[in-house]
Amino acid sequence: MLYEGMDVNNKAYGKLVGDKVLNEFGHMSSGAWEQCAFMNSTFADCPVAQKADETEQYSLNVAVHNPSSLDLESAKVSVPPHQNYNVMVFNKESQTFEHAYSEKSCFQDHLDNQDQTMVANCHMDIKVSTPAQGISLIKMEATKEVAAVAEPEVMTEG
């Protein structure tokens, strides 16, 4: 019952976000604006997982809605480990997408499936301003080049 209620709400929320993107950024979307199935989870629970399985070249558009009274300076998006992205942020002044600084970091996690499959889950940290009660729009173009991800430094002793 709770899940069904949240599902209905999320669809309506996605539609409102689509309206905001159209009105504020002048971009129209075909298809719904979807969320990850769970918060704080791996990329496998997000729409990008299926897309990355289908094709190597796609454009992942991300609308970040900030409902708080605090301005945000960055965004964090879960992405698959085998792909790299050219990240751009829509600039309302110039009315164009402009290159944005981003960093990809990966760590080992396990999926919540039967076998608890181990995966490398990656976070793309993106420098983007999302004002309080506002929305920002990010375009992440998947590139064919293999992602160069720095291996984390492992501390072996104190």
């Binding site: 993107v21 298809g31 979807e34 970040v64 309302k92 600084y101």
Partner: protein, 352 residues
């Protein structure tokens, strides 16, 4: 940062004084063994309603040892990923597993700790596990006093082993009796200085401060016997595959001079209660027909006074009818608490 068996030790840099070792902060995963399988009307086992550690256990045991520490460093984020775990009962598979991500929040100068607590161990000896992330600041004397929020609002003074309206029973369940509901924060003040140590959580939990400079919050529990309070079954929660549930929680930690530096508890509370929501789409095209409307809501709200600890809640009632609730989250516990003036007309105009 240093890691010793089950504890991580950090030196915390103080921006105001420039002291690189202003505070020594420790983090560890710990657990209580549940009081279980006692029959009779006064059994009082640990269960869905009752938290009751094993008799005689006054402090939690280490829950897994530090197995590995990974550090990632970038210009935007620096993160430590710590894996805890331990092999129990001569098993080859690791139990007591958790993965902890520690970073500095980008918007707020706070320590952010994400704890991904894996399934609790199989109960081969019927002991139950009640797992508490443990936060500790060295050389901190809060004089048995701590503060807990009241449903996210005014901080309430709590005194260890004391109730203001009845005589505290020192012989019965000393840990449980000192547990309080923590909906947003548990905070300590050093008795001999202005230092303040606050841990903020992202969900309602039980919590306490049993030792000087120490805060613990309950993240997951599994008790194999039932407490006789009406549920009629043990506290064992399984996922779709029959494993114990995995519980993730996020904590924000601030250790500061409560007067020289702004306490950020209420601002962090806004970020925790209203996190950014991410929406994804793969097909976006420029629509030249639609005039671009400038977003004025954010600026108008700031001009109207919706800043800092002021929270605005929108409750849609019907078409063109929005119920607004304005809250000043700050209270007298914070040294920077102040009256906030808000212009309702400006908010209404911005919404309209």
């Amino acid at each position: 940062m240093k890691a010793e068996e089950s504890t991580l030790m950090f030196e915390v840099f103080d921006e105001v004084s420039g002291n690189p070792k202003a505070e020594e902060f420790e983090f560890s995963m710990k657990y209580y063994e549940s009081h279980t399988f006692v029959d009779g009307p006064d059994m009082c086992n640990s269960g869905a309603y009752i938290f009751h550690p094993m008799d005689g256990q006054l402090h939690p045991y280490p829950y897994g040892d530090v197995q590995q520490v990974n550090i990632t460093q970038g210009k935007l984020t620096q993160e430590m990923i710590i894996t805890f775990g331990k092999c129990l009962y001569e098993e080859k598979e690791m139990s007591m597993k958790s993965q902890v991500h520690i970073s500095i929040d980008r918007e707020l100068a706070l320590i952010k700790i994400d704890v991904d607590l894996d399934s609790l161990p199989l109960q081969q000896v019927y002991n139950g596990y009640e797992v508490v992330p443990n936060f500790h600041v060295k050389n901190f004397e809060n004089d048995k006093v701590f503060y807990t929020d009241s449903n996210g609002l005014e901080m309430q003074k709590r005194i260890l082993n004391y109730r203001p309206t009845w005589v505290w029973d020192a012989t019965s369940q000393p840990v449980s009796q000192n547990y309080y509901p923590i909906n947003s924060a548990l905070s300590l003040k050093d008795a001999s200085s202005q230092r303040q140590f606050t841990v903020m959580n992202d969900r309602s939990q039980g919590g306490t401060s049993m030792l000087p400079g120490t805060i613990e919050l309950m993240q997951n529990r599994e008790a194999p016997s039932e407490d006789g309070k009406g549920v009629g079954e043990p506290l064992i929660e399984r996922d779709a595959f029959g494993r114990g549930i995995r519980v993730k929680a996020t904590y924000y930690v601030q250790i500061c001079d409560g007067v020289k530096r702004l306490p950020l508890q209420r601002i962090a509370q806004q970020k925790i209660h209203d996190p950014a929501n991410y929406f994804f789409n793969f097909n976006l095209t420029r629509s030249l027909e639609t005039p671009v409307v400038k977003d004025i809501l954010s600026a108008a709200y700031k001009d109207a006074g919706v800043v800092d600890a002021v929270k605005v809640v929108h409750v849609p009632k019907s078409k063109n009818h929005v119920h607004l609730r304005l809250q000043n989250l700050a209270d007298w516990y914070d040294s920077n608490a102040k009256t906030q003036k808000v212009d309702l007309e400006m908010i209404a105009d911005a919404l309209w």
